[in-house]
């Protein structure tokens, strides 16, 4: 079979309804799930399959590169333009701390923002979920659960009856 997978997108009216549905689908061993909510939620995060984020490590790496780069810049520049201020050593490390700290923070923050875009594959304005007219409320007051049709648990009966049972107020199919 060579059909590209699609999404079955179910809309829920309340946060608790979506959490209930997600728990039910997880109990039924569905794994290819996506959730779209207007705000982050600890309950959903605990139930959602998938790895935890690597963004913290990326920021740490960015900070280390930025900080050591800043220190090297000062160390190098203080030698390249040797300036004897009252006999103080050219490598006056305590005076190099503030700039090192500031550039550590700066690079970590910029790398963090770039990592968010990279990990979330944003900006992307044409994602298929936007094809569903109801999806406009995913950023407002509705909660969406998508089951991808390549989920191994999906049978010929489909997942729709189960989603209806969990309280979905609308169900439709969008591209994968």
């Amino acid at each position: 079979m060579n059909v590209s997978p699609r999404r079955i997108l179910a809309e829920f009216a309340a946060h608790e309804a979506l959490v209930g549905a997600l728990r039910r689908l997880r109990d039924e061993r569905y794994s290819h799930l996506e959730v779209y909510t207007p705000f982050p939620s600890d309950a959903i995060d605990e139930l959602l399959p998938g790895k935890s984020t690597r963004i913290g490590w990326l920021m740490l790496a960015g900070g280390i590169v930025g900080g050591s780069g800043a220190y090297f810049l000062q160390w190098f520049a203080a030698r390249d333009y040797a300036y004897n201020a009252g006999g103080r050593p050219l490598h006056s490390w305590p005076a190099f701390v503030p700039v090192t700290f500031e550039l550590t923070v700066l690079t970590a923050a910029l790398v963090g923002f770039a990592s968010l875009l990279w990990l979330a594959r944003l900006p992307r304005l044409d994602h298929p979920v936007f094809d569903a007219p109801e999806f406009r409320r995913a950023s407002q007051d509705r909660f969406f659960l998508a089951v991808r049709t390549d989920d191994p648990r999906l049978t010929s009966v489909g997942v729709e009856p189960l989603l209806r049972e969990c309280g979905a107020v609308s169900i439709q199919e969008v591209a994968g």
Partner: protein, 458 residues
């Protein structure tokens, strides 16, 4: 908790942080209404036009400065820093409350930050923008500002890394950039909400492009929340570092009145003090005009008043410490500086700052006054004035009489000094007006989460 209790009888922690009956729909409708529908247009246009007229004054003052040079200001030897540095320190201090509220209160799990963090972050950005103007204009030849940056120039010169003034460039530019990133990251989900609620095509497109196609994917929220927490963790030492470095601009000099180890922490406390005053100055009219009293409650005002009083006492301790150190050092010049501040030609400014920063906040010992928007508004204005006076006293009285009486002098601001300073006030408030009209002044995402699950973004 019975809804019949009046707030005054509840213990402080039990008093709700949002009005009764608020839910996702009401929160969003109330907050999104301002950027999308523009309620109270007469007030908005009136306020914006007034602020914009002052921006014209600023542009004129800067244009004249660029034509004539810094001689149009009152600065000269010995007082070479004058208004420019006073204004720089004042503005950058005001910015600090925004980061304090967004980052430090987030890490401390202070839920009340949720209603005010967006606005105060915007305030930070605009205050840093105003602050950044002054050192650049004060350069005399602002077209060469890039000489401050480390770049491989043909003369083989590098910045002097041992100078706090060089640290300042890195601190302030990092602070501005990180504040912008923090603010924008917080705005992305709200921009998506505005994209989806907007009715006109151009608004949908503008908000849509700015929202970067955010769709609220729970996997994205995972990255997002971690990023937000990490940025708060980074911004917390950053905010302390920035005003510490500004404090060191002074403390590293050997001048009596500047050469003091108390400067970095005392500057940070003063920054948060003046910043909270400016937050109150903005928030009190804002919540009245746009009906945000259900989100920025009297309890919020009271909590901010408490921060104001606490930081006010730290600042008061700083004043005491300066005088005590001058006395106990036995140093003739330090002692003269202290006497000259309180009784010399600038004594009126000194006593103004003591009255505004030490005496006025004592009104906040009374709960009834802490909860009165009118009283707090007046207190906040006086603290703003007092903190400007403090910076003026630190800059001017220390410089005008140093070691040798033969090199003493006097300083007073010229009309162009005042035009530039008041001009930046216009710029600041014009930007605040634009922000309130175009973007959600309270984070809808965080408020919706708070009214639904009681959780806070972290």
């Amino acid at each position: 908790m019975s809804p019949h209790h009046s707030h005054a009888t509840l213990p402080p922690d039990a008093e709700p942080l949002v009005g009764a009956g608020e839910n996702i729909a009401t929160v969003e409708a109330m907050i999104a209404r301002v950027p999308l529908a523009g309620p109270r247009p007469l007030l908005w246009w009136g306020g914006f036009a007034a602020a914009f007229l002052v921006v014209v004054v600023l542009v004129t003052a800067i244009a004249w400065l660029l034509l004539k040079g810094v001689g149009i200001w009152g600065i000269d030897i010995p007082v070479a820093w004058g208004f420019a540095i006073t204004n720089f320190v004042w503005w950058i201090g005001i910015g600090h409350a925004g980061t304090f509220i967004s980052a430090i209160l987030l890490l401390l799990h202070q839920h009340w930050r949720t209603s005010i963090n967006r606005l105060t972050e915007a305030m930070t950005l605009f205050a840093v923008a105003c602050a950044g103007l002054f050192p650049l204009l004060h350069l005399g030849r602002p077209q060469y500002f890039y000489w401050l940056l480390p770049y491989p120039d043909t003369m083989g010169l590098w910045p002097q890394w041992r100078s706090p003034l060089v640290w300042d460039i890195f601190a302030v530019s990092t602070y501005g950039t990180v504040s912008l990133v923090f603010w924008y990251v917080g705005l992305i989900p709200d921009l998506a909400t505005l994209r989806d609620r907007a009715t006109s095509l151009w608004r949908r497109r503008a908000y849509g492009v700015l929202a970067l196609g955010w769709r609220g994917d729970a996997q994205h929220w995972r990255h997002y929340e971690k990023l937000y927490l990490m940025l708060a963790g980074l911004a917390t030492p950053l905010v302390v570092s920035v005003h510490s470095i500004v404090g060191m601009d002074f403390a590293v000099a050997i001048l009596p009145g500047w050469h003091s180890t108390i400067f970095p922490p005392y500057f940070v406390a003063g920054a948060i003090f003046s910043g909270f005053a400016m937050v109150l100055t903005i928030v009190i009219p804002l919540r009245a005009v746009y009906g945000f009293k259900a989100y920025i409650t009297d309890r919020h005002l009271e909590l901010m008043a408490k921060v104001l009083m606490a930081t006010g006492w730290i600042v008061a301790y700083g004043y005491f410490s300066e005088f005590f150190t001058a006395w106990i050092s036995g140093d003739e010049f330090d002692r003269y500086m202290a006497v000259n501040r309180a009784t010399g030609p600038y004594r009126a400014v000194f006593w103004l700052l003591i009255a505004c920063n030490v005496l006025v906040p004592q009104a906040l010992w009374w709960r009834r006054l802490r909860r009165s928007a009118a009283v707090l508004f007046v207190v906040s204005l006086l603290v703003n004035i007092g903190m400007w006076a403090e910076r003026y006293v630190i800059v001017v009285t220390s410089l005008h009489r140093d070691f040798l009486p033969s090199s003493w002098g006097m300083f007073s601001g010229t009309r162009w000094d005042w035009a530039t300073f008041i001009g930046t006030l216009g710029l600041f408030f014009a930007l605040i007006f634009l922000f309130v009209r175009l973007l959600p002044a309270i984070s809808m995402t965080e408020m919706k989460r708070f009214v639904t699950t009681g959780e806070e973004t972290e």
